[in-house]
């Protein structure tokens, strides 16, 4: 069957991308020069979750307004200079997508948009998905993201039109130091682990980690007598009721762990309806 390659027996298949004309690259370079200030874009939706579609939209509307660069989304592949493929190319969308590709006049720039378009994203290996634009047509520009923000979209177009150069390059890390440094060595290990865990439960993996680090930095500089004052100083500096609450919980539990006796145990899974902290603006 055209464009389909068998893998094992008749049961398992994969797609074969459309072949490109030998001189296509020169033609494309010429095209890019022509369409610098006036590019017509045609969206081919090969099974996106429509997060990408909506962000492409957002890129054309007032706040980002691609039209100021002469980039215009058109409704017919016949007008297209750039084909924008979104979605992981589902089984049913393959044929229509190819038809759209062939309907567009040569030469044309193919842009693969979003994680699904670039490499199938989270759906890359499903039974009804071919796994990315470049599995069916040759792709010139990849715009990753899930979905790419309108700004990323504009940047992507700029790269496609050769107005900006790409910033990302293949990278290989070769760590010389074969030793990862331990953080907060000043704090006993079990306390450190406890604080980090609780902080995550209280404030999530980003803010929680940040808070845990800051608190432990403060604690590391403290001696038994001036803990309270230093923490208080830190909290007043931040002036955030929620932060104060979290830090107090962390401290009380630290005390608990250190002394064994239970301080004000404001345990995390409490089921009594807690008081409401109101943002004081």
């Amino acid at each position: 069957m055209k464009g389909i390659k068998q893998l094992v027996g008749t049961a398992h298949t994969q797609t074969v991308p459309v072949a490109q004309a030998p001189n296509s690259q020169q033609l494309k370079d010429a095209l890019i020069k022509q369409i610098r200030r006036s590019a017509y874009v045609y969206r081919v939706d090969c099974g996106g979750c429509n997060g990408c579609e909506i962000e492409i939209f957002a890129a054309t509307t007032p706040v980002f307004d691609t039209e100021r660069f002469g980039i215009k989304v058109v409704a017919s592949p016949r007008h297209a200079d750039i084909l924008l493929f979104t979605g992981a190319v589902t089984r049913a969308m393959r044929a229509p997508a190819l038809r759209a590709y062939e309907a567009a006049p040569d030469p044309k720039i193919v842009v693969s948009y979003g994680a699904c378009g670039c490499d199938g994203g989270i759906f890359h290996d499903l039974y009804c998905v071919w796994g990315g634009t470049d599995k069916i047509v040759p792709v010139d520009v990849y715009i990753p993201g899930c979905p790419p923000t309108p700004a990323a979209t504009i940047y992507g177009f700029a790269v496609a039109l050769g107005l900006l150069d790409q910033k990302l390059h293949a990278k290989t890390h070769q760590p010389e130091v074969q030793k990862a440094s331990l953080k907060h060595t000043g704090i006993p290990l079990d306390i450190k682990v406890m604080i980090e865990r609780q902080a995550r439960l209280l404030a999530g993996y980003v803010q929680g980690q940040r808070i845990a680090d800051e608190v432990m930095d403060v604690l590391a500089t403290c001696s038994a007598d001036n803990v309270d004052s230093k923490i208080a100083a830190y909290l007043t500096k931040k002036d955030d009721p929620r932060l104060t609450e979290i830090v107090n919980i962390l401290l009380s539990q630290t005390m608990e762990a250190l002394t064994g006796l239970s301080g004000c145990s404001n345990s995390t899974g409490e089921k009594v309806k807690p008081r409401e902290v109101t943002a004081d603006e």
Partner: protein, 584 residues
């Protein structure tokens, strides 16, 4: 019979058994119909009934007891009890609000089950899908066409059967062309066929419709969905663990993904009775409303676009960007918030987010109300949207649609109100149910406008009244083969999820019914009798999320009979949505 008769026999509802009288009712009217009764949460019960009693029980629950069919799905339980199973989940909205799931066991050899569609049309898509995915045969189902699987999929391969295939297997295509038969129920061959096509520049996603027209009037309409069926449900029970699926559900739909991931998380939390901290619930509530904001603004913008008022479209998108900013501020991403874990959320709102967030909300409220005035004061708007695409009450009752669509047809259905007590923090936030009587496009727009203001209030209230405490619960065990429903009110209506835990730290089965899936089947009735020129407006007023339609569905952009050239549909679409294609 009326609801009062229920009172006569029903025992006093036991504690923690909300909706017990429905079960008692079934027992009373259909003695020995119930084989098994199982309570998942205090307001969710699953009753296994005899196949012979299914239709009658469903009929009683649905029409006599104010039930609405939320989702119909199958399950391959041969490894558990030697049978397949078909579930019909009903949202009971009589005087007692609860969830009743009716389950029938399907013999593994005959593989046949009784179709309830002739009695309750709402089940049609669900049963067609069971047929596709499990190869079970619904006896008496009027519409035997394939629903979910692509046309070139092998007849005898049913992906969701546990013994069917590896989730990665891509079988040899069986045909080069699309073979779907569109059916014209009212008209005849003299009607011209108009593919209203998809790839429209400002519609978030393409859709494929066949309008059967007589002159300018639509006689009937049919549509082919599920062009983007990818097999997420299979993925969820194979490659992924529980937490990963929460990320997957975020990508069920690019517009209302968060509601799906909340819905999914709720299924597991309900099934394992995990206590989600209050703060996490409030954070989820806030984000659900943020999502509603951007989605409704999108749709209101589109409605003004479809009537040729592009300035309105652009202006509404300008406001919408503020809500996207808000989302980014609160979650770190404009879309696909990725905030849910089973047992809570991943990020907290600190002072910074709360203050900025509240400021943004107030700004949006101000600009939005201005724009609403503008929209309503715009010449011709009224004449374009009033009385167009009416959804009749009886149709609505039969098909169990959800969201602004049904609220605009005079029904008071909103999971946030009806089941608010068991849905995140909706019990504690101030807002009322928006509904209109006329059932036309105008009513839908007005309902959405009302809901935008509600959402703004909820977000502001939520950010202002975040409960103290943790945002995540951990340290619970995943008990095998527990199951429950999870539901949220997405911008387009109620999303319903159902999942069953497996014994290998993976899901045994996950079913997701998105709002649009419930709304599509009514579309044909809304289109009938209108002009082609209004078709896009009507379709748009349903706020179709093609990708929502069965987790991931896109309607084929350029699908049509092989002789037509690819971009025809688009051209035809554009022609028909404009009044005169040749006007200069």
């Amino acid at each position: 019979m009326t609801n009062n008769t229920v009172e006569l026999y029903s025992t006093k509802p036991q504690q923690g058994r909300i909706g017990k009288q429905y079960v008692d009712g079934v027992n009373h009217f259909f003695p020995s119909a119930i084989i098994d009764e199982e309570w998942q949460t205090e307001n969710q019960v699953t009753i296994t009934v005899k196949m012979t009693a299914l239709v009658e029980v469903m009929k009683w629950l649905y029409y006599d007891q104010g039930g609405w069919l939320a989702v119909t799905f199958g399950n391959d339980e041969r490894s558990l009890n030697g049978h397949f199973a078909v579930y019909h989940s009903l949202s009971m909205e009589g005087e007692v609000k609860s969830w009743v799931t009716v389950k029938v066991l399907v013999d593994a050899d005959s593989q046949e089950f009784v179709s309830v569609t002739p009695t309750i049309p709402a089940a049609v898509w669900g049963e067609r899908e069971v047929r596709d995915m499990y190869g079970l045969h619904p006896v008496g189902l009027p519409d035997e066409r394939r629903l979910v699987l692509p046309d070139d999929w092998p007849e005898d391969l049913h992906p969701l059967r546990k013994d069917a295939m590896d989730y990665r297997q891509r079988p040899q295509p069986t045909s080069e062309t699309e073979t779907y038969q569109f059916d014209n129920q009212l008209g005849n061959d003299s009607n011209r066929i108009v593919p209203v096509g998809p790839l429209h520049i400002t519609s978030d996603e393409p859709g494929h419709f066949r309008l059967f027209v007589d002159g300018e009037d639509i006689v009937d309409a049919d549509y082919r969905m599920f062009y983007v069926h990818r097999g997420m449900e299979k993925l969820a029970e194979t490659r992924m663990g529980y937490q990963e699926v929460a990320q997957l559900t975020d990508r069920v739909c690019g517009i209302c993904g968060f509601t799906h991931s909340v819905g999914y998380s709720n299924t597991i939390e309900n099934a394992l009775s995990v206590d989600v901290p209050f703060r996490a619930k409030m954070i989820r509530t806030v984000l659900l409303e943020v999502e509603r904001l951007h989605s409704h603004l999108l749709n209101i913008g589109l409605s003004s676009h479809f009537v040729g008022f592009d300035s309105g479209f652009m202006q509404f998108f300008r406001v919408r960007e503020k809500t996207m900013e808000l989302a980014e501020l609160l979650t770190g991403a404009r879309k696909t918030y990725g905030m849910n874990l089973i047992g809570g959320v991943r990020r907290d709102f600190l002072k910074d987010q709360r203050l900025k967030g509240i400021a943004l909300v107030r700004e949006v409220r101000k600009t939005f109300s201005e724009l609403v005035d503008v929209l309503l004061a715009t010449p011709n708007i009224e004449s374009r949207i009033a009385g167009v695409g009416i959804l009749a009450k009886d149709i609505a009752r039969d098909f169990s649609p959800v969201g602004p669509l049904i609220r605009a047809s005079g029904f008071k259905r909103d999971a946030r109100i009806v089941h608010g007590q068991s849905l995140e923090s909706y019990g504690d936030v101030p807002f009322e149910l928006q509904s209109m009587e006329n059932g036309d496009v105008q009513s839908r727009v007005m309902v959405r406008i009302g809901e935008v203001f509600d959402s703004l209030n909820i977000v502001e209230y939520g950010l202002d009244h975040l409960p103290a405490g943790a945002i995540l619960t951990e340290g619970f065990d995943y008990v095998p083969n527990k199951f429950a429903l999870g539901f949220t009110e997405a911008p387009r209506g109620e999303n319903v999820h159902w999942s069953m835990t497996g014994d290998n730290q993976k899901l045994f089965r996950w079913r997701c019914r998105a709002a649009t899936y419930a709304n599509w089947p009514t579309l044909r009735y809304m289109l009938r009798g209108n002009t082609v020129a209004d078709a896009p407006l009507i379709i748009g007023s349903l706020d179709p999320c093609y990708s929502c339609t069965d987790r991931v569905t896109i309607v084929d952009t350029k699908k049509k009979r092989s002789k037509t050239i690819p971009y025809k549909a688009i051209e035809q679409y554009s022609i028909n949505r404009k009044h005169s294609p040749f006007k200069l």
